[in-house]
Amino acid sequence: MPSVHFEHVSKRFGATTVVEDFNLDVAEGELLVLVGGSGSGKTTILRMLAGLEEVTEGTIRIDERDVTALAPRDRDVAMVFQDYGLYPHMTVRENLSLGLRLRKVARTEIERRVKWAADMLRLEPLLDRKPKQLSGGQQQRVAMGRAMVREPLVFLFDEPLSNLDAGLRAQMRIEIGGLQRRLKTTTVYVTHDQVEAMTLGDRIVVLADGRIQQVGKPIELYRAPVNRFVAGFVGTPPMNFVDGLLASENGGVQFNADGVNFEMLSSRMPAAMPAGPVTLGIRPEDMEVDVLDSGSAASASGGVAGRVVLVERLGGTSHIHFDAGQTRMLASVTNERLPGVGDAINVRLNSERAHLFVDDRRVSSAS
């Protein structure tokens, strides 16, 4: 299986720059996920790799071969589209085999591959139906089958699950992951859904405004986001951010903000203490909530006094939205005993997992 290389790739539409100096190496057999919000350039990058969009500057290589100027059909890549892109007037069998017939693959070989893909994706009984007669999940599998029978060098997925309902999405996510591991085909997968990215990707590339924010294994992005964007993008519910100032107190470093006073773990502080405003980042699951009996005050150390504004019970976990001073925060807890709206709570932040950002870049060391 080949590797894919982007070298200083840029894409401009007129005066608008969509992708800026994009550099990335996708390893052989890897499943790499490009994730970002709308307008982040992720789909454009995928379409440039597919050959559906021209590259303004830079080079794209598949292994050693420069494919930058090649037509889609000459790149030996296959793509699964968000709305599947199945030909509505052709049967499933014709949809699967068309690409091979156009490449003049021998008939027996076409039959073998169609059967192989149909077996693997449980499409056998659907081969003579038209796409309109299939459910969303089935259409999705046909689209994957069409990519598989081509036996391409690289698979490209463009938000393949976003048209499916939640249950089916989870199921297809598992199927795609399993399939990719079995076939070991180098894969680039685009999504805006960070859960999809975290569960599927060997590595994840987080994009914003056409630039790479961070590349890493899912857990690296979660544990050690390089900047505030990545910290806020990866993880659900998203990380809490509190703007404040640092102060040295009794040999330790104290973070102070309206309603949030918190002692930073010295081992995780940067070598030189940043001056000026900083942002504290803490994930909802890195907080513990104590419900206070009426009248008692918030405890002293590592504690944040809050007032509950909303409690969402999800079953196993619950989301507690609370105000600490002027700051609205969210804690994700598994408590049996939950506070009610308006109750006073004491929130303990896990200092091992707290992040510190200066000018949106993380300065605290990784946990």
């Binding site: 597919a50 059909r73 709305d83 892109g85 068309l98």
Partner: protein
């Protein structure tokens, strides 16, 4: 009460339908009536005869005119579909410099009435030496702005992912147009085909200008020359020649009517 209303409704609709159908049926039956009977309103001739057709056929080369009309109308229809869809595809789905200008120009052509271009076009044909040729009848009609815009509008609705898939599958643009877009665009292609064919089939003025040789005349042209020139002699013969003109269009309509009605009802393609 309900049944009564229904009966009333059907009666009204039947009368309305008859007002459309009766004149046509009367014409059809009149062509089989002898001269003495033509004046009556009856739908069935008491002494049916083919004399009107025989006379018509004997007096002017209607067979040849029928073939001429078929050649001209079919060539124009095919050309409008092929060239028009190629243009429409480019206008709807390809990015190139000058596309907005091309759209505007095509739209602009619609605003120019045919009568205005008639004389310049005629002069052009004369200078090209195309008077009394098929080229004079066919070439000016090979492209049609209305058809292009109708197809463009339809093509805009076809999902981009189909084009992308086809490109990934290895198709070129022409192949995408004819193997993906055409099958999905049957409604609009049918309506363009019918309108173009009928328009060309019924055209009288232009052939009268550029064709004088009887053996090159189209059917409506010959019919006009024949009837107005007094060649028919009787109303029965005139009507018989009109029948020859109408029948092919009715047949074409019968074949394409399902798609025709579909596209008139404004259906689109769903990806």
């Amino acid at each position: 009460m309900k049944t009564l209303r229904r009966i009333g409704l059907y009666a009204a609709l039947t009368i309305a339908a008859l007002t459309f159908i009766y004149p046509f049926l009367w014409m059809a039956s009149a062509t089989f009536k002898p001269l003495a009977e033509v004046g009556t309103l009856a739908l069935f001739p008491t002494h049916a005869t083919l004399d009107n057709y025989r006379t018509m056929w004997a007096r002017a080369p209607f067979g040849r005119a029928l073939i001429n009309s078929l050649i001209v109308a079919s060539t124009i229809t095919i050309a409008v579909l092929v060239f028009g869809s190629i243009t429409a595809y480019a206008m709807a789905r390809l990015r190139f410099r000058g596309r907005p200008a091309l759209n505007a120009a095509t739209m602009g052509v619609l605003l120019v009435p045919g009568q205005l271009t008639l004389i310049p076009l005629y002069t052009l044909i004369v200078q090209l030496g195309w008077i009394d040729t098929y080229a004079a009848l066919i070439v000016p009609y090979l492209f049609n702005a209305t058809a292009i815009l109708m197809m463009r509008q339809f093509f805009l609705q076809i999902p981009q992912s189909l084009i992308d898939s086809a490109r990934m599958d290895g198709m070129g643009e022409m192949r995408i147009l004819f193997t993906i877009f055409w099958p999905l665009s049957k409604p609009v292609l049918s309506i363009v085909a019918i309108f173009t064919f009928m328009g060309s089939w019924n055209e009288v003025l232009w052939p009268l200008l550029v064709v004088r040789e009887q053996h090159l005349m189209t059917l409506p042209q010959l019919l006009t020359v024949f009837s107005l020139g007094g060649g028919a002699g009787s109303i029965g013969v005139s009507l018989a020649s009109a029948m020859v003109l109408v029948v092919p269009v009715v047949i074409a309509y019968a074949f394409l009517q399902r798609n025709f009605i579909e596209s008139m009802a404004g259906s689109g393609v769903k990806g």
